[in-house]
Symmetry: C2
Subunit: 247 residues, 2 copies
């Protein structure tokens, strides 16, 4: 019976963390005109899960989320925002944790700390898809992007958490102009439009969308992009403000 060192190690670290509190991160990326979420495949189980973790005793909750994000994506300075706390008494965490433990053939005393009821703080992160290097953790065998509209079977209440994250993103898209964090440094107006259309699930007219975006006064026209396609070359734009933000 193989010993999973890292896991056994982790289980003994009870006192390092705030008990019964976890952080789950919905990491959004945009690629091929699709909004994607980064998920982990749990070892030996047929379900996927959001990257998550616990809050260290001397660590702010935002810092915990940033640490988790960096571990999975390799990125620092990520746009990050709390969106909801999931704290129903009957959250299905126990059953899943027990399954995970069992699948690792690890002995689980019934009073193990990770088997307690957990309250989870949901964060969503917006990242530049092309800069992410997905990395599984020791509980998972894969770390992959999934289209938001075609998620696999998710563990815990991660389906609900992802849904709520998407709703918050939709709501905040115009208010905080966060969409730019999902694009590369420079982008065409068409890319920006497709991003908005994908997130909001609506369609805009090219001319009116451009007028609206340019009137915001936050875009800077950079240069022309020669795509190699048989048509007029589009301009590239740059977002005027800094990208990183927490809270």
């Amino acid at each position: 019976m193989p010993l999973i060192n890292e896991l056994d190690d982790f289980i003994t670290k009870k006192d390092l963390f705030i008990p019964q509190l976890s952080v789950d991160c919905v990491i959004f990326g945009f690629h091929n005109q699709q909004l994607k979420v980064l998920l982990l495949k749990l070892k030996n189980l047929s379900v996927w899960a959001l990257p998550g973790g616990y809050v260290r005793q001397n660590e702010g909750i935002d810092d915990a989320a940033l640490r988790i994000l960096e571990e999975r994506t390799g990125l620092t300075a990520i746009y990050l925002e709390q969106f909801h706390v999931f704290g129903a008494a009957e959250r299905p965490t126990k059953a899943f944790i027990r399954e995970i433990m069992a699948s690792h053939q690890t002995e689980i005393p019934e009073d193990l700390w990770v088997l307690q009821r957990y309250v989870s703080i949901g964060y969503y992160a917006l990242v530049d898809f092309s800069k992410v290097n997905p990395m599984p953790d020791y509980l998972s065998e894969a770390c992959k992007w999934f289209e938001v509209k075609q998620l696999p079977s998710l563990a815990f209440d991660h389906q609900e958490i992802t849904q709520k994250a998407l709703e918050t993103l939709q709501l905040m898209l115009d208010y905080k102009l966060v969409g730019f964090n999902l694009l590369a440094d420079t982008f065409t107006m068409n890319e920006l439009q497709k991003l908005y259309e994908t997130i909001l699930g609506t369609v805009f007219r090219r001319n009116n969308f451009q007028r609206k975006m340019l009137n915001l006064g936050i875009l800077e026209r950079v240069e022309k992009l020669y795509t190699g396609a048989a048509n007029k070359a589009p301009y590239l734009y740059r977002f005027r403000e800094k990208k990183d933000k927490v809270g």
Copy 2:
């Protein structure tokens, strides 16, 4: 040296609650054209605090907030919404809890559970001022309304929490039309306008404000209100939808 039974009692109840997690409620009311917040005066201390408490092991976090609200206001079916989690590593809770304990001449072991670092979930509640019966708890000697713009000195980071609650309320006012929860069942257009003006800190024109509100299609004109004033009697309106909501 007097024994404060309820407090001593409470201190032994460690296992009843989720550790290191608290709930703080910003209860908004509207009266005399002012937006008010319900605060508690801590016994023997010169500071006030938001109503708050801990989450029981078998209680959802929203239920905990509702319980706290009911204990302080006597109201059930309150409009309630999570708005932010305050979880910086350096939140000033320890120092204040120690002061509170000291002021009750209660012995405090250094490892007492309430002296740990706490992560607090912020909720805001919108109540009908006229229906509230403010009730202090055993740690406080008074429970009173304060104008949001003239708060007394607040304990913990409750100043920051209140500020964030107000910002969220301002943001959600149009989006979720929550303002109606702050008024009585029927109200005049002028009352509604003053409510909006107070919360948002802006001024509207009578005619345009009325046009906007009526176009929402959520107001029902009831009857005329004869105020006794020397002018045309205003209509009363009623909000078409139910008031209670959690989450």
